[in-house]
């Protein structure tokens, strides 16, 4: 028997095993396509990944918590190990949350990881959304994925609200009372909606059990399904990328999934998980044992909701007391506007924004190259305007704390918010519009005249000029011939190789300085390379002058 294998037949054990698998599942082709998928490389493309990883952490830690949490509103006297509350009547929900905090080994740690990961989840979704918005990544063909993202954000907020209400401590009960009032404020169906959600009048004994199943099953299942669609669409449509050398509407430039991108993504997962774990252990969050069990007659002053609900708290505080009394003795309560209407309008406009922009600009083409925010001043300024409005509401959600800490009148803070939410957004619009135009002009100026080197030269005629480094070929007037293409323009000499690379090594050099010098000359960029073969002229760029002399330290750095 010959020992040689036929061509195409694997010789190693792993190879044979892989062949056996592929003969059954036919995965080699799809696997290769997946491994070869190219991911563009930019830090801002990792924000969505942070949201995904926080969700994984939430699923893991949340599942652990369900082993111990009991979503019952039956009253029991507390008998656990936290002495100050012993003997106090409380709901089983609160009792079991105390038990998993104090009587389960590491339970408090997992509970705090869960809370921190929830804050990070919403925060990373919001920052990811801002990146998508300000770079125009939502444009055709990605409107659907934008819509799914907005729905995911709303679901994340609902997860936060239901989760926050479940421990049934004094803070969560106060939040629940406000949720009840918001439901009641809906015109026509308010009381019916309240009776359907709470199974009767506030507070009843059903709501925590209902929130529990919504929080651990219904919304997570919808979120999982939507994340799957979100990612499938992303794979199908491929990534957007910033404009740059070799990047077009018809390609993606970056790293292949395997091994570079997979390595970075895995690293990011561990770092996100690690930060949540560190926060969960080191930074106390929502110490429910200090608040005590819920009691409708008690409230703590200065209490704040989780950060992502703060803007609704703020809008509610700023709203004037404007009940609308309709004929027939019907009332639309003032509470309806800053909660249901403001939140509903905000998320509706957000979800429809891609369609709005299409209608208003008439731009119906597909786009895969991103825009720099400065290049779309109207959209950027609209975004900043919306953020300013949100910021005023959010700040007003804590206006009592600000008033207390800075010794300002509480009513003055309310008026600051009321006036600010009307006046500041247009101001923010105008300022960001001007900043965008200024940045655009500076880009073009650098392309035309080159980078300022900081070198002042006196010409034979006595004239002083600042030497500029052109970024490309120049015409007879010394003006650059490059046009702006939507990519960042280098503004500093170091960005075009003005400084030599430092020799590596912490305690002692681990490279030969001469080799580093040689390598930088071989790269044929920057001044060291230019010095080698350019003649010296008058010093004006238009006459072949070079800006290098005196432009950087002449002493060798190594």
């Amino acid at each position: 028997m010959a020992t040689a294998v036929a061509p195409g037949q694997p010789a190693t054990k792993i190879g044979k095993a892989a062949t056996e698998i592929d003969e059954r599942l036919i995965v080699a082709g799809p696997l290769r396509r997946t491994l070869n998928k190219v991911f563009p490389d930019h830090w801002s493309f990792l924000l969505g990944e942070i949201a995904l990883y926080s969700f994984v952490i939430l699923l893991l830690s949340g599942t652990y918590l369900t082993f111990f949490f009991d979503a019952s509103m039956a009253e029991v006297p507390y008998q656990g190990s936290y002495a100050p509350l012993r003997g106090v009547e409380m709901s089983q929900a609160y009792e079991s949350t105390l038990a998993l905090s104090f009587d389960v080994r590491g339970g408090l740690f997992i509970r705090q990881i869960h809370h921190w990961a929830a804050l990070l989840f919403v925060a990373s979704i919001v920052v990811h959304l801002l990146r998508i918005f300000f770079t125009g990544a939502f444009r055709k063909p990605r409107e659907t994925n934008w819509g799914i993202g907005v729905v995911l954000l709303v679901l994340a907020l609902l997860m936060g609200v239901t989760g926050y209400s479940m421990p049934d401590d004094l803070l969560s009960g106060t939040g629940l009372r406000i949720i009840s009032a918001i439901l009641l404020s809906i015109p026509v169906i308010g009381t019916w909606a309240h009776w359907a959600v709470f199974d009767g009048d506030y507070v009843g004994d059903a709501i925590i059990g209902r929130f529990y199943i919504v929080h651990v099953l219904i919304i997570p299942a919808i979120i999982l399904a939507l994340i799957a669609v979100h990612l499938l669409l992303l794979i199908k449509q491929k990534h957007t990328q910033f404009p740059g050398p070799g990047r077009t509407e018809h390609n993606v430039v970056g790293n292949r999934l395997f091994p570079a991108f997979a390595g970075k993504a895995t690293a990011l997962f561990f770092i996100v998980f690690g930060l949540c774990a560190a926060l969960g252990g080191l930074v106390q969050i929502n110490p429910i044992w200090l608040w005590g069990p819920y009691n409708p007659a008690q409230v703590s002053a200065g209490s704040q909701p989780d950060w992502y609900i703060g803007f609704l708290d703020g809008s509610t505080r700023l709203m004037p007391a404007w009940d609308i009394n309709l004929p027939g003795n019907y009332t639309i309560p003032a509470l309806f506007w800053p909660t249901v209407v403001v939140a509903g309008a905000m998320f509706t406009v957000l979800a429809l924004y891609p369609q709005l922009e299409r209608k208003l600009t008439g731009d119906t083409a597909s786009h895969h190259l991103l825009q720099r925010p400065r290049d779309v001043p109207v959209r950027t300024s609209v975004g900043v305007m919306a953020l300013t409005f949100y910021g005023v509401l959010w700040m007003s959600g804590g206006n009592d704390v600000i008033a207390d800490k800075f010794d300002i009148s509480l009513n003055a803070m309310t008026w600051v918010g009321r006036i600010g939410m009307v006046v500041l957004p247009p101001v923010a619009y105008m300022i960001s519009y001007r900043i965008c135009l200024g940045l655009q002009r500076h880009d073009r100026e650098v392309l035309e005249h080159g980078i300022e080197t900081g070198v002042i030269r006196r010409l034979p005629s006595g004239e002083f000029i600042e030497v500029h480094q052109p970024l490309g070929p120049v015409d007879e007037h010394g003006h650059g011939q490059l046009t702006y293409a939507g990519a960042p323009v280098p503004k500093k000499m170091n960005q075009v190789g003005g400084a030599r690379r430092a020799v590596k090594g912490f305690f002692s050099p681990i490279e030969q300085p001469s080799q580093v010098e040689l390598a930088s000359q071989q790269e044929r960029r920057g001044l060291a390379a230019a010095e080698a073969d350019e003649p010296v002229g008058s010093g004006r760029p238009s006459e072949g002058g070079r800006p290098s002399e005196g432009g950087r330290p002449q002493d060798p750095r190594d």
Binding site: G106, V252, G263, L275, L282, W322, T331, P333, I510
Partner: protein
């Protein structure tokens, strides 16, 4: 490799490249077996529309740079292992060979540090794994710049798929056989209704009785403190506020019954202007208002007797005690309802009736009940 045989689009022209077909005919097993691994890698990539444009090689094997990078990665992974081990020691060792982990609120030693130590060790382990991976990718992997084609939709696919779909629809004959379509539409609608019908179990009538307009208060029900003790005039200092509950089973935890009993100072009494028709609701220098905010239902709690104002900490509505608890600032639009009180035979405070209006937040048909 020349630009002519490069698979995919040309960045200079910004046009979509050709698509790629099945390669098995072109590449026999013998031919593939004769190729180097790197060539096979590039070949597969080209069939996936990926071209590797440029590779920055990793540091040369055995060079100082490589050794330094390898050391850094190994240190990060090693630290991760140490932290993970420390986590296990803290987690399992507490209450075994280490002090107890269970927190005693008096203790500031090991048990108070238990959760922070878990966070530090687990966080350290996970972060260092991540840091090691980042260092590995950045310093030891070749930096590859790859470009992949992006394909727009294919006209061929659209035309053939549309023909398949429309052909199938033609065969069913639904456009022609209208009766089937209509009856199916009717059945579908009715089935949809049937499937969501069980949600009707959630619906309850909020207008049966007057649950939103009534509380546990009634004629003759004593005002008691949280601990159940009744209250006499003279128990409170002038200018003070006490939260009281109806003396019924579970009255101190009822959602809407909490009431503020306020004893006014003489100068406040001089300025007291109750609401129309409610001037006899108080008793002497005592008035009793609902504690449930008429805005969002929070307990209004902060009484500033200098200004006679009650502040709700949730949204900062302010109510003037001297004007029948009228809202004077903030988002609340209605006065806090006043409870009519008097004394019973034994000299304790009792209610004369329930609140004469609904307490708590406003709702659609509140004025009608």
């Amino acid at each position: 490799m020349s630009t002519q045989d490069r698979a995919g689009s040309d960045p200079a022209t910004d046009e979509a490249g050709p698509t790629h077909g099945g390669p098995d005919d072109d590449y026999s097993p013998e031919r593939l077996a004769g190729m180097q691994r790197e060539d096979l890698n590039r070949l597969g990539a080209r069939y996936d529309g990926v071209e590797v444009l440029h590779v920055d090689p990793p540091p040369a094997p055995g060079s100082g740079l490589e050794k330094q990078a390898e050391r850094q990665v190994a240190i990060a992974f090693g630290l991760a292992g140490l932290f993970a081990l420390a986590f296990a020691v803290v987690y399992f060792g507490s209450d075994w060979f280490l002090p107890d982990w269970q927190w005693d609120s008096e203790d500031n030693g090991w048990s108070a540090l238990y959760t922070p130590m878990l966070g530090l060790t687990m966080g350290g382990a996970l972060v260092f794994i991540g840091v090691g991976l980042v260092l590995f990718v950045k310093k030891l992997l070749p930096h590859e710049t790859a470009v992949q084609d992006k394909h727009d939709g294919s006209n061929f696919d659209r035309a053939t798929t549309a023909a398949t779909l429309m052909g199938g629809l033609d065969k069913t004959g639904f456009p022609r056989r209208k009766m089937i379509g209509r009856s199916l539409g009717f059945a579908g609608g009715a089935m949809g209704l049937m499937l969501i019908a069980p949600l009707g179990g959630l619906i309850k009538n909020p207008n049966k009785g007057n649950p939103l307009g009534t509380t546990e208060w009634a004629d003759g029900v004593r005002l008691v403190r949280d601990d159940g003790s009744p209250i006499r005039p003279g128990d409170q200092e002038p200018g003070s506020l006490e939260t009281v509950f109806p003396a019924v089973e579970g009255g101190n935890r009822a959602a809407d019954a909490a009431t503020m009993l306020i004893r006014l100072r003489p100068e406040q009494m001089a300025n007291l202007r109750p609401r129309d028709g409610q001037s006899d609701f108080g008793y002497g220098d005592y008035v009793a208002y609902s504690k449930i905010c008429t805005h969002a239902g929070c307990p209004v709690s902060l009484y500033e007797q200098e200004t006679s104002r009650i502040l709700c900490p949730c949204h900062q509505s302010q109510f003037d005690v001297l004007q029948g608890a009228k809202p004077v600032f903030g988002p609340a639009s209605r006065s806090l309802p006043e409870l009519p009180i008097t004394l019973d035979d034994e000299g304790y405070f009792v209610a004369r009736s329930d609140y004469i209006e609904a307490v708590g937040p406003t709702y659609w048909n509140r004025e009608r009940i």
